[in-house]
Symmetry: C2
Subunit: 586 residues, 2 copies
Amino acid sequence: MSVVVVQPSRTVRKPFDARQVQLVDGFWADRVRINRERTIPHGLDQLRRAGNLENLRLAAGGAGAYRGDLPFLDSDVYKWLEAVGWSADDDLAAAADEVIALVAAAQRGDGYLNSYVQVVGGGVPYRDLSWGHELYSAGHLIQAAVAWHRARGDDRLLTIAVRAAEHLLTESLVDGHPGVEMALVELTRVTGDRRYLTRAAAMLDMRGHGRLRGAERFGPTYWQDHEPVRDAASVAGHAVRQLYLDCGAVDVAVELGDDQLLAAVRRRWNDLMHTRTYLTGGMGSRHRDEAFGDPYELPPDRAYAETCAAIASVMLAWRLLLATGEAGYADAIERTLYNGVLSGVSLDGTRFFYTNPLQLRTRRAPGGTAGRRPWYACACCPPNLMRLLGSWQQYLATYDDTGIQLHQYASADVIAGPIRLRIRTAYPWDGRVTVHIEQTPPQPWTLSLRVPRWCHSATLTEPDGTLAAPAGTVKRHRRWQPGEVAELSLDMPPRITEPDPRVDAIRGCVAVERGPLVYCVESADAPEGMEIEELTWDRHRAFATVPGPEMVGIAVPVARGGTAGAIPYFAWANRGVGGMRVWIPR
Amino acid sequence: MSVVVVQPSRTVRKPFDARQVQLVDGFWADRVRINRERTIPHGLDQLRRAGNLENLRLAAGGAGAYRGDLPFLDSDVYKWLEAVGWSADDDLAAAADEVIALVAAAQRGDGYLNSYVQVVGGGVPYRDLSWGHELYSAGHLIQAAVAWHRARGDDRLLTIAVRAAEHLLTESLVDGHPGVEMALVELTRVTGDRRYLTRAAAMLDMRGHGRLRGAERFGPTYWQDHEPVRDAASVAGHAVRQLYLDCGAVDVAVELGDDQLLAAVRRRWNDLMHTRTYLTGGMGSRHRDEAFGDPYELPPDRAYAETCAAIASVMLAWRLLLATGEAGYADAIERTLYNGVLSGVSLDGTRFFYTNPLQLRTRRAPGGTAGRRPWYACACCPPNLMRLLGSWQQYLATYDDTGIQLHQYASADVIAGPIRLRIRTAYPWDGRVTVHIEQTPPQPWTLSLRVPRWCHSATLTEPDGTLAAPAGTVKRHRRWQPGEVAELSLDMPPRITEPDPRVDAIRGCVAVERGPLVYCVESADAPEGMEIEELTWDRHRAFATVPGPEMVGIAVPVARGGTAGAIPYFAWANRGVGGMRVWIPR
């Protein structure tokens, strides 16, 4: 049993067991701790208040009125359970006992389990595949079960999930919201039963022929039913649906050795990165249908950039990284984690953003955003954050027959069989990462470190000397000795980022970045008496970094001799909600 | 009886009877003729195909299945009837007989009339005021009845409308979609029965207290229930709803002498013009809820700019022009008619745009626009265009005790009691407008001509000499003689328009305008081998006008020595749908 979030059976890179990577301290250790200590308990409280648990009680035969009118409320419970599973915290696991019991009680004798259909929908399964989210919800149940099986050796949920999966195998179904495909592949990985994988593969190829009913509303593109998964050249429609679908496609492709399918996903990903991804890694430009827009349609103010889409893109990039080993996927994961994902949760871990715009005006239309909220009627994002942060250390490194690859930087101890590494860094505030070789076999092996694409000056210093490290991957294949140190040094001065001229909405603007972090200016940090809408960057004066106790700020020179304070984008809207801009006019 | 689209009993300016203004030839005469000969007949055909007429037949007791799932389908029929009413065409009127008979047959014994409620909704009126559009639809029935009463002296519809109005007076109601308010005021003007006016006034003040149910979806702002009509400082929410509401507010204000209410609408209008109006006069920046956005949120690509919103803004500006006499309202009408309204219908009059963006990319997301369509499932815009164009000559001029005011320019004969004017012009292609005084009383009177704000060099030549005419209004009070001529000369070279720096989405771009027309570049007119996305304006080379048989084009100098052809925005998407831009990067 390995504690692994995604466990492909044959890929270029292999994920570590979560227990092999121990976060020690620093940026991500703090975020993971806050997730475990604050966010996940807050989640249980909110699920109780919002009625999600009560709805399961009703499905189990309890009396009362169904709460909420969305058909996928169970999935929030499953995502929360998955987060608890990965979090390796016995107190949280104990608190989950009640929830697992509710889930078990709610399951019907025939294995079917969906509180909305059972309580509100007349009990007939699969009647509204387009909008019903039944398979989507079952997918999240399976993912929770996989987490508890792998991380805790607890199969209570797996027993439920297998019965639910068997029920949905009885009919040939395609869900309006993808997600079950990757779950079914994982279920095969856990159980060895290849029928789940086969069905997932079939679901992928059934899609794309305009068969889903209800497409009048947004068109078949909305749920990727406009073009077969193997053929579509670009992402389209609802962003989270597309990204979850492509996660499932990679999972199927690596299990079945389906290179054509993998190539289709890689082609879409490449186009997505170049034409439809925000500087923050956020995706999905349109509010109307939570969709990708045209190529280069990336408005900062009306960015939808749903937190779930950013999370889904990390899930997809991780699968592609494992499948190909290419550093670019880890670059994308870094950019998205630090910016588009982390902006979705407040610094204290208990308030959330559903959408993550790159600009908010000081004066706004009535009825607009009131800032972060403790929960949402459609609460897909908060528990999605919980499960991602609960398994964060998974994304730090991989291994293969030749050695170890470090993809993300955090202070951590890595134990890989005969190899033990002590990684120490103040990243992302500082660009030095030291890797202490605490234990090593006598044979030579390769230590690989990602050199982020944002870094224009990097070196690797190791016992044999110092070498320049261009963006991509720096590798050292040698006979390591215990006690040796390799130090990666990433230069990270504040830098100005010019937009692609094809992005119409931010023409004539620049962004400020430092290291992996995108910065923004909030009203609170504009020069005295100046609205954020009046700021223009003064290119003739220099930046200054402003080290603080919690984060490094940047003093941005602006016109009229003023200076605006920029803070990391992920930290915005933690001091009330005034105006905010990532892109600042020249 | 006067043939007047809006007939306030006391305003600063008075509208002419439609029969007093005869369009002779030229731009608007052509558009009005195409509307009458092509568009309105096409509308009847489409109403038949779409099931709107069949639905009325079902309401009258016929057997069959209701077509479409929108509750306001009757209103399309009423708007079409209104268009026929204003169009002064006996053949169209004869074709409408069948439709009027259907409407009459569908009305219940108690006066209630709504095919959706009667056939699909269980027959219980006013159960879903928020989304049901029952009063909104009744408002359009009343407007059609007013048109047939005034323009044709035919009261078949008025009899039906009065009964329907009496039914809705039985309860105290506020509709989620405003519109009935202005209709009720007109019904008072036609019948003399002040109860309708009083009820309209009450409806206005009942709004704005968060009472409408169903606001979970878009919030109470969506239907202007967030703040009282008298208090709200800015427009907000669904654009057409806000504009129709303010039309009703002006109508009530002028009838009741309610200056506070009028001032509230003027305040909102002023803010709207400065912060939320596209260059084309289009309004409503957001797709999600068809709503106004934040101040200066005016993306060209994702402009919603619904055709109905542009029409509604003309209706509102016209009411404010009558109420105040201020030329700025006529400026707004001109800009919107030539650009944001007229873009909604193809040159041949049979294909329509629902949304009117100012930019379309060459490469677009799958499932996006496929160009103009012959009809829409939600077909509010096409018959709205028909009724506006069917009464276009109404907007040309007004009168008061001192004389005649010309607001829009077209070749037309105006007969105002003892005064007869023969107006001749090739506007908007040429800026000269000659006004021949064919008949005049011996007393002095004032001829007023609007000098559009876009014009920076204008003169008025009349028998006593030539005077410079600054933007606003040029007036001549004199003892006119038959045979005299006044000539307004508006200089209209192509001009570059810089955007307000607060409009983020078009920073670093310029637009090309000439006279009242906004121009755009389509893919078909980009330099050979260049995508429209690659164009940048070359400020060092001059424009050239390119007179054509149908319209005046402009040759725009672009980088790399090329020239792009610009055509009037209203004419775009008549040669297939490639890319299009109004705002061109510098």
